[in-house]
Protein backbone atom coordinates (compact mmCIF):
# COMPACT_ATOMS: atom_id res chain seq x y z
CA UNK A 1 0.00 0.00 0.00
CA UNK A 2 1.73 3.24 -1.08
CA UNK A 3 2.75 5.44 1.90
CA UNK A 4 0.10 8.14 2.34
CA UNK A 5 1.89 11.37 3.26
CA UNK A 6 -1.27 13.08 4.34
CA UNK A 7 -2.04 10.65 7.18
CA UNK A 8 -0.17 8.83 9.93
CA UNK A 9 0.79 5.43 8.52
CA UNK A 10 0.89 2.24 10.53
CA UNK A 11 3.11 -0.75 9.63
CA UNK A 12 3.43 -1.61 5.91
CA UNK A 13 1.13 -4.61 5.98
CA UNK A 14 -1.24 -5.74 8.68
CA UNK A 15 -3.70 -8.63 8.58
CA UNK A 16 -7.11 -8.85 10.30
CA UNK A 17 -6.91 -11.24 13.24
CA UNK A 18 -10.06 -13.12 12.26
CA UNK A 19 -7.94 -15.03 9.71
CA UNK A 20 -5.96 -16.75 12.41
CA UNK A 21 -9.00 -17.65 14.47
CA UNK A 22 -10.19 -21.27 14.45
CA UNK A 23 -12.74 -21.41 11.64
CA UNK A 24 -16.08 -20.99 13.33
CA UNK A 25 -17.32 -23.98 11.34
CA UNK A 26 -20.46 -22.05 10.59
CA UNK A 27 -20.10 -22.03 6.81
CA UNK A 28 -22.87 -20.37 4.87
CA UNK A 29 -24.43 -23.71 4.04
CA UNK A 30 -24.77 -24.72 7.67
CA UNK A 31 -26.10 -21.25 8.49
CA UNK A 32 -28.68 -21.63 5.75
CA UNK A 33 -29.47 -25.11 7.08
CA UNK A 34 -30.38 -23.82 10.52
CA UNK A 35 -32.31 -20.90 9.05
CA UNK A 36 -34.29 -23.10 6.66
CA UNK A 37 -35.23 -25.57 9.41
CA UNK A 38 -36.25 -22.92 11.90
CA UNK A 39 -38.37 -21.14 9.26
CA UNK A 40 -37.25 -17.93 10.96
CA UNK A 41 -34.15 -15.80 10.73
CA UNK A 42 -31.41 -15.56 13.34
CA UNK A 43 -32.96 -12.43 14.90
CA UNK A 44 -36.45 -13.92 14.91
CA UNK A 45 -37.76 -12.05 11.88
CA UNK A 46 -39.98 -13.55 9.18
CA UNK A 47 -38.32 -14.00 5.77
CA UNK A 48 -40.15 -10.98 4.33
CA UNK A 49 -40.08 -8.81 7.44
CA UNK A 50 -38.08 -5.59 7.44
CA UNK A 51 -35.89 -4.68 10.42
CA UNK A 52 -36.96 -1.90 12.78
CA UNK A 53 -36.07 1.51 11.31
CA UNK A 54 -35.09 4.61 13.30
CA UNK A 55 -35.03 7.72 11.08
CA UNK A 56 -34.16 11.25 12.24
CA UNK A 57 -33.53 14.31 10.11
CA UNK A 58 -31.46 17.37 11.00
CA UNK A 59 -28.62 15.20 12.34
CA UNK A 60 -25.88 17.53 11.00
CA UNK A 61 -26.33 21.18 12.02
CA UNK A 62 -23.87 22.45 9.38
CA UNK A 63 -25.63 20.77 6.44
CA UNK A 64 -28.61 22.25 4.59
CA UNK A 65 -30.41 18.93 4.95
CA UNK A 66 -29.28 15.78 6.76
CA UNK A 67 -30.69 12.48 7.96
CA UNK A 68 -29.55 9.66 10.23
CA UNK A 69 -31.01 6.19 9.74
CA UNK A 70 -30.68 2.97 11.72
CA UNK A 71 -31.98 -0.22 10.08
CA UNK A 72 -31.37 -2.82 12.76
CA UNK A 73 -27.62 -2.41 13.43
CA UNK A 74 -26.84 -0.64 10.12
CA UNK A 75 -26.19 3.04 10.89
CA UNK A 76 -25.89 5.55 8.02
CA UNK A 77 -25.69 9.35 8.09
CA UNK A 78 -26.36 11.45 4.97
CA UNK A 79 -25.89 15.20 4.54
CA UNK A 80 -26.94 17.40 1.64
CA UNK A 81 -25.42 20.81 0.93
CA UNK A 82 -27.07 23.65 -0.88
CA UNK A 83 -26.36 23.89 -4.58
CA UNK A 84 -23.17 25.44 -5.82
CA UNK A 85 -21.93 26.09 -9.34
CA UNK A 86 -20.84 23.00 -11.24
CA UNK A 87 -17.01 23.09 -10.97
CA UNK A 88 -14.87 23.28 -14.16
CA UNK A 89 -17.78 23.57 -16.59
CA UNK A 90 -18.12 26.71 -18.63
CA UNK A 91 -21.14 26.05 -20.84
CA UNK A 92 -24.59 26.93 -19.53
CA UNK A 93 -26.48 23.65 -18.90
CA UNK A 94 -30.22 23.72 -18.44
CA UNK A 95 -30.33 20.73 -16.13
CA UNK A 96 -28.67 20.65 -12.73
CA UNK A 97 -26.41 17.81 -11.56
CA UNK A 98 -26.07 15.65 -8.48
CA UNK A 99 -22.73 14.72 -6.95
CA UNK A 100 -23.06 11.63 -4.75
CA UNK A 101 -20.37 10.10 -2.57
CA UNK A 102 -20.96 6.88 -0.66
CA UNK A 103 -18.27 5.93 1.87
CA UNK A 104 -17.85 3.14 4.40
CA UNK A 105 -16.11 4.28 7.61
CA UNK A 106 -12.83 2.34 8.04
CA UNK A 107 -14.27 0.57 11.11
CA UNK A 108 -17.77 -0.02 9.71
CA UNK A 109 -17.25 -3.50 8.16
CA UNK A 110 -15.73 -6.77 9.40
CA UNK A 111 -12.64 -6.17 7.24
CA UNK A 112 -11.04 -2.72 7.72
CA UNK A 113 -11.64 -0.39 4.78
CA UNK A 114 -9.14 2.16 3.51
CA UNK A 115 -9.68 5.90 3.69
CA UNK A 116 -9.55 6.20 -0.10
CA UNK A 117 -12.69 5.24 -2.01
CA UNK A 118 -12.35 1.71 -3.46
CA UNK A 119 -14.18 0.27 -6.46
CA UNK A 120 -17.18 -1.06 -4.55
CA UNK A 121 -17.82 2.33 -2.97
CA UNK A 122 -17.47 4.01 -6.37
CA UNK A 123 -20.07 1.58 -7.74
CA UNK A 124 -22.44 2.25 -4.83
CA UNK A 125 -22.00 6.03 -5.31
CA UNK A 126 -22.88 5.55 -8.99
CA UNK A 127 -26.01 3.51 -8.12
CA UNK A 128 -27.08 6.02 -5.48
CA UNK A 129 -26.59 8.89 -7.94
CA UNK A 130 -28.79 7.11 -10.50
CA UNK A 131 -31.53 6.47 -7.95
CA UNK A 132 -31.65 10.09 -6.73
CA UNK A 133 -31.22 11.68 -10.19
CA UNK A 134 -34.64 10.45 -11.29
CA UNK A 135 -36.23 11.62 -8.02
CA UNK A 136 -34.86 15.22 -8.06
CA UNK A 137 -36.32 17.86 -10.42
CA UNK A 138 -33.01 18.77 -12.06
CA UNK A 139 -34.61 21.29 -14.42
CA UNK A 140 -35.43 23.46 -11.40
CA UNK A 141 -31.71 23.93 -10.59
CA UNK A 142 -30.20 25.04 -13.93
CA UNK A 143 -26.42 24.94 -13.95
CA UNK A 144 -26.19 24.00 -10.26
CA UNK A 145 -24.81 20.97 -8.48
CA UNK A 146 -26.25 19.47 -5.30
CA UNK A 147 -23.68 17.59 -3.16
CA UNK A 148 -24.91 14.49 -1.31
CA UNK A 149 -22.52 12.65 1.03
CA UNK A 150 -23.38 9.34 2.72
CA UNK A 151 -21.23 7.79 5.44
CA UNK A 152 -21.87 4.26 6.73
CA UNK A 153 -20.85 4.04 10.39
CA UNK A 154 -21.91 0.42 10.96
CA UNK A 155 -22.55 -1.92 8.04
CA UNK A 156 -24.85 -4.77 9.12
CA UNK A 157 -26.34 -5.44 5.67
CA UNK A 158 -28.28 -3.37 3.06
CA UNK A 159 -26.26 -0.22 3.76
CA UNK A 160 -26.93 1.13 0.26
CA UNK A 161 -30.73 1.06 0.57
CA UNK A 162 -30.50 2.70 4.00
CA UNK A 163 -28.34 5.45 2.44
CA UNK A 164 -30.75 6.04 -0.46
CA UNK A 165 -33.81 6.28 1.83
CA UNK A 166 -31.96 8.63 4.20
CA UNK A 167 -30.73 10.72 1.23
CA UNK A 168 -34.36 11.13 0.09
CA UNK A 169 -35.29 12.54 3.51
CA UNK A 170 -32.22 14.80 3.63
CA UNK A 171 -33.02 16.21 0.16
CA UNK A 172 -36.58 17.08 1.17
CA UNK A 173 -35.31 18.78 4.34
CA UNK A 174 -32.77 20.71 2.24
CA UNK A 175 -35.65 22.12 0.21
CA UNK A 176 -34.39 20.57 -3.04
CA UNK A 177 -37.40 20.20 -5.39
CA UNK A 178 -38.22 16.47 -5.80
CA UNK A 179 -40.78 14.58 -7.86
CA UNK A 180 -41.59 12.10 -5.14
CA UNK A 181 -40.55 10.41 -1.89
CA UNK A 182 -37.95 7.74 -2.57
CA UNK A 183 -37.49 4.53 -0.55
CA UNK A 184 -35.10 1.67 -1.21
CA UNK A 185 -35.00 -1.97 -0.09
CA UNK A 186 -32.59 -4.89 -0.52
CA UNK A 187 -33.49 -8.55 -0.75
CA UNK A 188 -31.09 -11.50 -0.60
CA UNK A 189 -32.05 -14.60 -2.61
CA UNK A 190 -30.70 -18.08 -1.79
CA UNK A 191 -32.21 -21.34 -2.99
CA UNK A 192 -35.38 -19.46 -3.91
CA UNK A 193 -35.78 -18.19 -0.31
CA UNK A 194 -36.15 -14.39 -0.29
CA UNK A 195 -34.65 -12.63 2.76
CA UNK A 196 -35.84 -9.02 2.84
CA UNK A 197 -33.42 -6.47 4.31
CA UNK A 198 -30.63 -9.04 4.92
CA UNK A 199 -28.04 -8.40 7.62
CA UNK A 200 -24.31 -8.74 6.79
CA UNK A 201 -24.20 -12.52 7.49
CA UNK A 202 -27.24 -13.17 5.31
CA UNK A 203 -25.78 -10.92 2.60
CA UNK A 204 -22.61 -13.03 2.56
CA UNK A 205 -24.67 -16.20 2.53
CA UNK A 206 -26.61 -15.06 -0.53
CA UNK A 207 -23.47 -14.20 -2.49
CA UNK A 208 -22.09 -17.72 -2.16
CA UNK A 209 -23.18 -20.54 -4.44
CA UNK A 210 -23.88 -23.78 -2.60
CA UNK A 211 -21.99 -26.73 -4.09
CA UNK A 212 -23.34 -29.63 -2.03
CA UNK A 213 -25.78 -31.80 -3.93
CA UNK A 214 -28.50 -31.21 -1.27
CA UNK A 215 -29.18 -27.83 -2.87
CA UNK A 216 -29.99 -28.12 -6.58
CA UNK A 217 -31.63 -24.71 -7.00
CA UNK A 218 -28.72 -22.48 -8.02
CA UNK A 219 -30.60 -19.23 -7.51
CA UNK A 220 -28.51 -16.96 -5.35
CA UNK A 221 -27.90 -13.23 -5.37
CA UNK A 222 -28.72 -9.78 -4.08
CA UNK A 223 -31.38 -7.40 -5.39
CA UNK A 224 -31.54 -3.66 -4.55
CA UNK A 225 -34.35 -1.43 -5.87
CA UNK A 226 -35.52 2.06 -5.06
CA UNK A 227 -39.03 3.22 -5.77
CA UNK A 228 -40.92 6.48 -6.15
CA UNK A 229 -43.99 6.29 -3.94
CA UNK A 230 -46.96 7.95 -5.70
CA UNK A 231 -45.68 7.49 -9.25
CA UNK A 232 -45.14 3.76 -8.57
CA UNK A 233 -41.95 3.95 -10.64
CA UNK A 234 -38.70 2.05 -10.03
CA UNK A 235 -35.93 4.61 -10.33
CA UNK A 236 -33.06 2.21 -9.70
CA UNK A 237 -32.65 -1.54 -10.03
CA UNK A 238 -29.47 -3.50 -9.24
CA UNK A 239 -29.01 -7.24 -9.01
CA UNK A 240 -25.96 -9.47 -8.83
CA UNK A 241 -25.47 -13.18 -8.31
CA UNK A 242 -27.21 -15.86 -10.41
CA UNK A 243 -31.02 -15.59 -10.52
CA UNK A 244 -33.64 -16.92 -12.91
CA UNK A 245 -36.40 -14.75 -14.40
CA UNK A 246 -39.32 -16.03 -12.26
CA UNK A 247 -37.37 -15.63 -9.02
CA UNK A 248 -36.36 -12.15 -10.16
CA UNK A 249 -39.97 -11.20 -10.83
CA UNK A 250 -41.27 -12.56 -7.53
CA UNK A 251 -38.38 -10.78 -5.81
CA UNK A 252 -39.56 -7.58 -7.49
CA UNK A 253 -43.09 -7.92 -6.08
CA UNK A 254 -41.79 -8.58 -2.55
CA UNK A 255 -39.55 -5.54 -2.83
CA UNK A 256 -42.16 -3.09 -4.06
CA UNK A 257 -44.50 -4.34 -1.34
CA UNK A 258 -41.85 -3.69 1.32
CA UNK A 259 -41.12 -0.24 -0.14
CA UNK A 260 -44.74 0.64 0.52
CA UNK A 261 -44.31 -0.52 4.14
CA UNK A 262 -41.45 1.94 4.68
CA UNK A 263 -43.10 4.98 3.08
CA UNK A 264 -45.42 5.90 6.02
CA UNK A 265 -42.42 6.00 8.32
CA UNK A 266 -40.54 8.40 6.01
CA UNK A 267 -43.69 10.54 5.69
CA UNK A 268 -44.12 10.71 9.49
CA UNK A 269 -40.53 11.87 9.91
CA UNK A 270 -40.90 14.56 7.23
CA UNK A 271 -44.22 15.84 8.51
CA UNK A 272 -42.76 16.13 12.03
CA UNK A 273 -39.93 18.19 10.51
CA UNK A 274 -42.33 20.48 8.60
CA UNK A 275 -44.72 20.99 11.48
CA UNK A 276 -42.07 22.09 13.94
CA UNK A 277 -40.64 24.17 11.09
CA UNK A 278 -44.03 25.95 10.95
CA UNK A 279 -44.34 26.34 14.71
CA UNK A 280 -40.88 27.97 15.11
Amino acid sequence: MPVDHKRINGPEESVPYELFARLSGLTSEKAFEQLYKAGKRSDGREFEEHRKIFLKNGAVSQAKGSAYIEMGQTKVIVSVFDPREIPNRSDYSLKGELYCEFKFAPFSCAKRRLHQQDNEEKQYSCIMKKALESAVCLHELPNFQVDIYALVMHNDGSALSAAITAAGVALVEAGVPMYDIITSVTVGIQQGVKLVDPDSLEEQMCQVQFLSEKYQDNNHGLLIISKLHTQEQLCQFYQNGYVSLEVLKSGLEVLSKTCEVIVPLVQKCLIKHITNGIKS
Binding site: I8, S79, F107, Y149, H154
Partner: protein, 273 residues
Protein backbone atom coordinates in the same frame (compact mmCIF):
# COMPACT_ATOMS: atom_id res chain seq x y z
CA UNK B 1 -34.08 40.24 9.93
CA UNK B 2 -31.56 39.52 12.70
CA UNK B 3 -30.25 36.67 10.59
CA UNK B 4 -29.54 39.04 7.69
CA UNK B 5 -27.69 41.42 10.03
CA UNK B 6 -25.72 38.47 11.40
CA UNK B 7 -24.62 37.36 7.94
CA UNK B 8 -23.56 40.87 6.86
CA UNK B 9 -21.65 41.88 10.02
CA UNK B 10 -20.91 38.79 12.07
CA UNK B 11 -18.28 40.52 14.22
CA UNK B 12 -20.53 43.45 15.15
CA UNK B 13 -23.41 41.02 15.86
CA UNK B 14 -21.18 39.15 18.35
CA UNK B 15 -19.83 42.33 19.98
CA UNK B 16 -23.35 43.54 20.68
CA UNK B 17 -24.07 40.26 22.47
CA UNK B 18 -20.78 40.10 24.32
CA UNK B 19 -21.31 43.60 25.71
CA UNK B 20 -23.79 41.97 28.11
CA UNK B 21 -21.57 38.89 28.65
CA UNK B 22 -24.07 36.69 26.80
CA UNK B 23 -23.29 34.64 23.75
CA UNK B 24 -25.80 34.44 20.84
CA UNK B 25 -26.67 30.85 21.83
CA UNK B 26 -27.47 31.99 25.35
CA UNK B 27 -24.39 30.66 27.13
CA UNK B 28 -22.28 32.61 29.60
CA UNK B 29 -18.69 33.35 28.56
CA UNK B 30 -17.23 30.40 30.47
CA UNK B 31 -20.14 27.98 30.03
CA UNK B 32 -19.60 24.67 28.30
CA UNK B 33 -21.98 22.99 25.91
CA UNK B 34 -23.72 19.75 27.00
CA UNK B 35 -21.57 16.64 26.40
CA UNK B 36 -23.07 13.27 25.35
CA UNK B 37 -20.91 10.12 25.23
CA UNK B 38 -22.06 6.74 23.88
CA UNK B 39 -19.66 3.77 23.74
CA UNK B 40 -19.62 0.35 22.14
CA UNK B 41 -22.47 0.96 19.68
CA UNK B 42 -20.55 -0.25 16.58
CA UNK B 43 -20.14 -4.03 16.78
CA UNK B 44 -17.84 -4.43 13.75
CA UNK B 45 -15.13 -2.37 15.52
CA UNK B 46 -13.11 -3.69 18.46
CA UNK B 47 -14.00 -0.51 20.33
CA UNK B 48 -16.17 2.44 19.34
CA UNK B 49 -17.49 5.68 20.81
CA UNK B 50 -19.65 8.59 19.68
CA UNK B 51 -19.20 11.98 21.36
CA UNK B 52 -21.40 15.04 20.96
CA UNK B 53 -20.24 18.42 22.42
CA UNK B 54 -23.17 20.70 21.64
CA UNK B 55 -23.61 20.10 17.91
CA UNK B 56 -20.02 18.92 17.25
CA UNK B 57 -20.18 15.14 16.74
CA UNK B 58 -17.17 12.81 16.37
CA UNK B 59 -17.30 9.02 15.93
CA UNK B 60 -14.21 7.02 16.90
CA UNK B 61 -13.75 3.38 15.89
CA UNK B 62 -10.73 1.19 16.71
CA UNK B 63 -9.95 -1.88 14.58
CA UNK B 64 -7.15 -4.16 15.74
CA UNK B 65 -4.98 -5.98 13.23
CA UNK B 66 -1.90 -8.18 13.55
CA UNK B 67 1.34 -6.90 12.10
CA UNK B 68 5.07 -7.21 12.39
CA UNK B 69 6.82 -4.73 14.75
CA UNK B 70 9.28 -2.31 13.19
CA UNK B 71 12.93 -3.36 13.22
CA UNK B 72 14.05 -0.47 15.43
CA UNK B 73 11.11 -0.82 17.88
CA UNK B 74 10.97 -4.60 18.13
CA UNK B 75 9.02 -4.70 21.40
CA UNK B 76 6.42 -2.09 20.53
CA UNK B 77 2.95 -2.44 18.96
CA UNK B 78 1.27 0.40 17.08
CA UNK B 79 -1.48 2.90 17.82
CA UNK B 80 -2.33 4.78 14.58
CA UNK B 81 -4.72 7.71 15.19
CA UNK B 82 -6.16 9.50 12.14
CA UNK B 83 -8.71 12.33 12.12
CA UNK B 84 -10.94 12.44 9.05
CA UNK B 85 -12.92 15.65 8.39
CA UNK B 86 -15.44 13.94 6.12
CA UNK B 87 -17.39 16.04 3.63
CA UNK B 88 -20.51 15.03 5.64
CA UNK B 89 -19.62 17.40 8.48
CA UNK B 90 -19.47 20.75 6.69
CA UNK B 91 -19.56 22.34 3.24
CA UNK B 92 -15.98 23.53 3.85
CA UNK B 93 -14.53 20.03 3.26
CA UNK B 94 -14.43 18.38 -0.14
CA UNK B 95 -13.97 14.64 -0.74
CA UNK B 96 -10.43 13.51 -1.52
CA UNK B 97 -7.15 13.56 0.41
CA UNK B 98 -7.28 15.09 3.92
CA UNK B 99 -7.17 18.90 4.04
CA UNK B 100 -4.42 20.75 5.94
CA UNK B 101 -6.78 21.25 8.89
CA UNK B 102 -7.42 17.50 9.10
CA UNK B 103 -3.69 16.78 9.05
CA UNK B 104 -3.01 19.33 11.80
CA UNK B 105 -5.76 17.75 13.91
CA UNK B 106 -4.32 14.28 13.32
CA UNK B 107 -0.91 15.49 14.50
CA UNK B 108 -2.36 17.18 17.60
CA UNK B 109 -4.31 14.03 18.59
CA UNK B 110 -1.20 11.89 17.98
CA UNK B 111 0.83 14.29 20.19
CA UNK B 112 -1.79 14.15 22.95
CA UNK B 113 -1.82 10.32 22.92
CA UNK B 114 2.00 10.25 22.86
CA UNK B 115 2.44 12.83 25.63
CA UNK B 116 -0.15 11.31 27.95
CA UNK B 117 1.37 7.79 27.63
CA UNK B 118 -2.15 6.51 28.20
CA UNK B 119 -1.34 3.31 26.26
CA UNK B 120 1.91 1.46 26.92
CA UNK B 121 2.92 0.25 23.44
CA UNK B 122 4.96 -2.58 24.92
CA UNK B 123 1.73 -4.20 26.11
CA UNK B 124 0.52 -4.28 22.49
CA UNK B 125 3.47 -6.46 21.49
CA UNK B 126 2.49 -10.17 21.43
CA UNK B 127 5.91 -11.59 20.58
CA UNK B 128 8.95 -9.29 20.23
CA UNK B 129 10.12 -8.77 16.64
CA UNK B 130 7.56 -11.27 15.32
CA UNK B 131 3.96 -10.12 15.76
CA UNK B 132 2.30 -7.22 17.51
CA UNK B 133 -1.09 -5.57 17.69
CA UNK B 134 -1.75 -2.57 15.48
CA UNK B 135 -4.72 -0.49 16.68
CA UNK B 136 -6.10 1.69 13.85
CA UNK B 137 -7.99 4.50 15.62
CA UNK B 138 -10.11 6.32 13.03
CA UNK B 139 -11.86 9.49 14.22
CA UNK B 140 -14.51 10.77 11.80
CA UNK B 141 -16.13 14.17 12.31
CA UNK B 142 -19.86 14.01 11.55
CA UNK B 143 -20.78 17.60 12.47
CA UNK B 144 -18.26 20.46 12.60
CA UNK B 145 -19.41 23.08 15.09
CA UNK B 146 -16.17 24.17 16.78
CA UNK B 147 -13.74 22.87 19.49
CA UNK B 148 -13.03 19.76 17.48
CA UNK B 149 -9.85 18.90 19.45
CA UNK B 150 -11.95 18.42 22.61
CA UNK B 151 -14.46 16.17 20.84
CA UNK B 152 -11.75 14.06 19.14
CA UNK B 153 -9.72 13.65 22.35
CA UNK B 154 -12.82 12.66 24.34
CA UNK B 155 -13.96 10.22 21.64
CA UNK B 156 -10.51 8.61 21.49
CA UNK B 157 -10.05 8.17 25.24
CA UNK B 158 -13.57 6.78 25.78
CA UNK B 159 -13.05 4.42 22.82
CA UNK B 160 -9.69 3.24 24.19
CA UNK B 161 -11.34 2.44 27.50
CA UNK B 162 -13.79 -0.02 25.87
CA UNK B 163 -11.40 -1.71 23.38
CA UNK B 164 -11.13 -5.46 23.92
CA UNK B 165 -8.62 -7.65 22.07
CA UNK B 166 -8.88 -11.40 21.53
CA UNK B 167 -6.23 -13.56 23.15
CA UNK B 168 -3.43 -14.60 20.78
CA UNK B 169 -1.04 -17.49 21.34
CA UNK B 170 2.08 -17.47 19.19
CA UNK B 171 4.27 -20.50 18.57
CA UNK B 172 7.72 -19.19 17.53
CA UNK B 173 8.97 -22.52 16.14
CA UNK B 174 6.14 -22.95 13.65
CA UNK B 175 5.76 -19.14 13.25
CA UNK B 176 2.01 -19.73 13.55
CA UNK B 177 -0.40 -17.72 15.65
CA UNK B 178 -3.71 -18.88 16.99
CA UNK B 179 -6.45 -16.41 17.87
CA UNK B 180 -9.12 -17.30 20.38
CA UNK B 181 -12.10 -15.06 19.59
CA UNK B 182 -14.14 -15.93 22.67
CA UNK B 183 -11.63 -14.76 25.30
CA UNK B 184 -11.34 -10.99 24.86
CA UNK B 185 -9.32 -8.92 27.30
CA UNK B 186 -9.58 -5.13 27.51
CA UNK B 187 -6.33 -3.14 27.22
CA UNK B 188 -5.39 -1.13 30.28
CA UNK B 189 -5.43 2.65 29.92
CA UNK B 190 -2.90 4.23 32.31
CA UNK B 191 -4.25 7.78 32.25
CA UNK B 192 -7.32 9.68 31.09
CA UNK B 193 -6.73 12.94 29.21
CA UNK B 194 -9.40 15.63 28.86
CA UNK B 195 -9.02 18.55 26.45
CA UNK B 196 -10.59 21.99 26.79
CA UNK B 197 -10.47 24.77 24.22
CA UNK B 198 -10.85 28.51 24.79
CA UNK B 199 -11.26 31.22 22.15
CA UNK B 200 -9.79 34.71 22.70
CA UNK B 201 -12.15 37.38 21.38
CA UNK B 202 -10.88 40.95 20.68
CA UNK B 203 -7.71 40.28 22.73
CA UNK B 204 -9.52 40.32 26.07
CA UNK B 205 -12.60 38.11 26.33
CA UNK B 206 -12.04 34.38 26.85
CA UNK B 207 -14.86 32.21 25.52
CA UNK B 208 -14.91 28.59 26.63
CA UNK B 209 -15.86 25.81 24.24
CA UNK B 210 -16.31 28.03 21.10
CA UNK B 211 -18.74 27.17 18.29
CA UNK B 212 -17.56 27.30 14.64
CA UNK B 213 -18.76 30.94 14.16
CA UNK B 214 -16.92 31.99 17.32
CA UNK B 215 -13.80 30.16 16.13
CA UNK B 216 -13.93 32.00 12.79
CA UNK B 217 -14.31 35.39 14.50
CA UNK B 218 -11.88 34.90 17.40
CA UNK B 219 -8.33 36.23 17.23
CA UNK B 220 -6.71 33.20 18.92
CA UNK B 221 -7.42 29.83 20.53
CA UNK B 222 -5.89 28.03 23.53
CA UNK B 223 -6.22 24.28 24.09
CA UNK B 224 -5.21 22.71 27.40
CA UNK B 225 -5.22 18.96 27.94
CA UNK B 226 -5.13 17.65 31.49
CA UNK B 227 -4.05 14.11 32.33
CA UNK B 228 -4.54 12.68 35.83
CA UNK B 229 -4.20 16.16 37.52
CA UNK B 230 -1.08 16.92 35.45
CA UNK B 231 -1.02 18.77 32.14
CA UNK B 232 0.07 16.95 29.01
CA UNK B 233 -0.55 19.49 26.30
CA UNK B 234 -0.79 23.29 26.23
CA UNK B 235 -1.39 24.36 22.65
CA UNK B 236 -1.65 28.01 21.73
CA UNK B 237 -0.93 28.43 18.00
CA UNK B 238 -0.25 32.18 17.82
CA UNK B 239 -3.20 34.56 17.99
CA UNK B 240 -3.60 37.48 20.38
CA UNK B 241 -1.25 37.34 23.38
CA UNK B 242 -2.43 36.12 26.78
CA UNK B 243 -1.54 37.59 30.14
CA UNK B 244 -0.44 35.20 32.90
CA UNK B 245 -3.60 35.57 35.02
CA UNK B 246 -5.77 34.70 32.01
CA UNK B 247 -3.55 31.68 31.40
CA UNK B 248 -3.77 30.42 34.98
CA UNK B 249 -7.53 30.88 35.30
CA UNK B 250 -7.95 28.99 32.01
CA UNK B 251 -5.87 26.16 33.48
CA UNK B 252 -7.96 26.29 36.64
CA UNK B 253 -11.27 26.11 34.68
CA UNK B 254 -9.83 23.26 32.67
CA UNK B 255 -8.97 21.22 35.80
CA UNK B 256 -12.47 21.19 37.29
CA UNK B 257 -14.02 20.61 33.88
CA UNK B 258 -11.85 17.51 33.44
CA UNK B 259 -13.14 16.12 36.74
CA UNK B 260 -16.75 16.41 35.55
CA UNK B 261 -15.85 14.88 32.16
CA UNK B 262 -14.06 11.95 33.82
CA UNK B 263 -17.21 11.18 35.80
CA UNK B 264 -19.19 11.32 32.56
CA UNK B 265 -16.83 8.81 30.92
CA UNK B 266 -17.18 6.41 33.87
CA UNK B 267 -20.98 6.50 33.73
CA UNK B 268 -20.97 6.01 29.93
CA UNK B 269 -18.72 2.95 30.29
CA UNK B 270 -20.81 1.49 33.13
CA UNK B 271 -23.95 1.80 30.99
CA UNK B 272 -22.24 -0.11 28.19
CA UNK B 273 -21.35 -3.23 30.21
Amino acid sequence: MAEQYKSLHPAKYYRDHLKHDIRPDGRELSDFRPVVINVGSIKTADGSSIVKIGNTTVVCGIKAEISRPKADAATKGFLVPNVELSPVCSSKFKPGPPSDQAQVLTQIIADIVGNSQCINLEELCIFPDKIAWCLYADLICIDYDGSLIDACALALISCLKVVSLPEVSYDPSLDKQQVNLEKRTPINVNSVFVSTTFAIFDDKLILADPTVEEENLCTGTLTIVTCNDELCYVHKPGGSPLVDEQMSDCIEKCMNRSNSIKKLIKTAILENI
